[in-house]
């Protein structure tokens, strides 16, 4: 019986540490990307505090989580154990309150990934984690037991815990949806340097390098899923020309198109009204 409680507590410890670390890292990552507008508009308990406190609150929360995880893993001190119980009990209350006061915002438990509104599942997960924290406080296990107590029982207990938490995690569906339906290539920012390296490894580049006068592009721009690079060059006959490469921005070995346009080329057909001045 004692062995079983220790095994259960060890499994609970592993899960707690894992979730605390994941949550902390995800929150810090979200707080860090706030340079982009709209980062914290939909997130969790931070919504309950005034706007200027949102980011410090998120970072504070992440620090507490990582401290608790470290304390649980490396010490047998009761302080992080009771701290974890307090943390998840407060989290349960805050989620309940959040669901009542702001039904539109997500729980923010894993930063940006937890954008869907707080439901009973998120609250159920907080309750389950509180119960696990109680188990870890009653049977004070630490990282040492994890290493010494590796067994089939532990694996089964761990698997059961993972299944329980997965069922209670709305983030998982969101993650699967994000993997399945990525934003179309036309809407994804793609750095020019990546397209350039794809271009340089293509056979079109190798077959046209002889025509180029310079290896630095004189102009580059992006239209939908294509990025264009223009190089000063010469035609096979030696006349001045421009070599245009178009690189598709999706896939590992993307399509590359190329054209050599003479200086007097087919550019006399441009739109009459096209003046560029307001741009700069």
């Amino acid at each position: 019986m004692t062995v079983e409680t220790t095994t259960l507590a060890t499994a609970a410890l592993i899960l707690l540490v894992l979730l605390l670390v994941l949550g902390g890292v995800a929150k810090i990552a979200t707080a860090g990307t706030d340079a982009e507008p709209g980062g914290l508009t939909r997130l969790g308990p931070a919504m309950l505090v005034p706007e200027r406190w949102r980011k410090p609150m998120l970072i504070f929360c992440a620090c507490v989580e990582i401290t608790l995880a470290t304390g649980l893993l490396f010490t047998r001190n009761p302080l992080p154990r009771w701290g974890t119980i307090a943390f998840f009990s407060v989290a349960t209350y805050v989620l309940w309150e959040l669901r009542r006061r702001r039904p539109d915002v997500g729980c923010g438990c894993f930063g940006e990934a937890s954008g869907s509104p707080v439901g009973l599942r998120s609250i159920g997960r907080a309750v389950a984690l509180t119960a696990m924290a109680v188990a870890v406080a009653l049977v004070p296990v630490s990282g040492a037991e994890v290493l010494s107590g590796l067994s089939l029982d532990l694996a089964i207990a761990l698997a059961a815990g993972v299944v329980l938490l997965s069922l209670l995690s709305p983030e998982l569906e969101e993650a699967i949806a994000r993997v399945r339906y990525r934003a179309p290539c036309e809407q994804r920012p793609v750095p020019a340097a990546r397209a350039l390296s794809r271009l340089r490894s293509s056979s079109e580049w190798r077959s046209h390098t002889a025509l180029l006068v310079s290896v630095e592009p004189e102009d580059t721009w992006r239209e939908l899923c294509w990025r264009f690079f223009v190089y000063p060059g010469r035609t096979a006959a030696g006349a001045k020309a421009e070599v245009v490469f178009a690189v598709y921005l999706s896939g590992r070995r993307p399509a590359v198109r190329v054209a050599v346009v003479g200086a007097d080329g087919n550019d006399g057909t441009l739109h009459e009204s096209m003046g560029i001045s307001a741009a700069r």
Binding site: P184, A192, E218, R222, F228, V261, G265, D267, M274
Partner: protein
Amino acid sequence: MGVERRYALASAALGRSGVPPQAAVEERPALSAVTGEILDISPHLVVLANSEGVEERLVIAPWATAWHGRPVAPAELPVGARVVVRARQSGRVAERLWGDITRITGVILELGKERRDLTVELDCGPHRGRRTVVIPYGASGRLRVRHPQLEPGFLFDAIGTRMEGTTFARLPATSQPAYRATAVPPPPPAYGGIQSRISGAAAWSDAFDDGEAGVAYPMLERTDSGCEDAGISCTGLPYLALGSMLYVGNVCEGRALVLPIIACGCVAGRFCDRCVECGTSPRGRIVELSPVSFVELGGDLAKGCFNARVGLG
């Protein structure tokens, strides 16, 4: 190298026609926009000097209306006013005139008071710089109803007049977004791929050269456009470049044009408003037109927007 060659070069690389496509020919009589300074005006005739100093004489239609801070009769426009005219019959008959009209769109930086009038300093984007606007006491009620948060950091969009170097805001061009300019809501996830035509609201801006046709588009790559604020929009817009040809359709009037992208619409992308010119448009300001293009597409400058549909030309 100028971006005006981009279309031809891209067409050569992708093997498409080098001639920019034109919107389908419409049955409605074409509109044209004329801009200039009034040299002389009477109830039936207006004489303008355009940006090259050439005189143009337009007949004023009997049904014509004018705007100069408020609706006025065409003959009441003062001599010397800069006007944008919507004309028919290949630009010979004026039917709507806007005098000294300007649009002030930006992020509020500072507020001040000058006797009973309010002054607002705005950041109009990296290419457009800062502008100071006076909100006359008489217009402040109308503006504040739709701009409840006149505070630094919030967006401002109004239509007004520019006289003797001073800009006066007269009408709100939209309802102020409730969020700060730095907290634009993210676009909805684009499950199931991109559409070839995207609907939303089209606005106009006077940050273009006189008589220039073209659009400012928010979704440009930052490194290509040299605009640090580009690439933000609350609609799922595809990335395009300066020099791309954009199809812009006015849903209300059934008119369409293919126009070049000539500027970065960094401020336009931050507005998540709807246009209610004819029905309610989907959320998001997708394009900002030059006054001439806006008028040629049948828009009313004093109303400030029309329901639009855009796509790559």
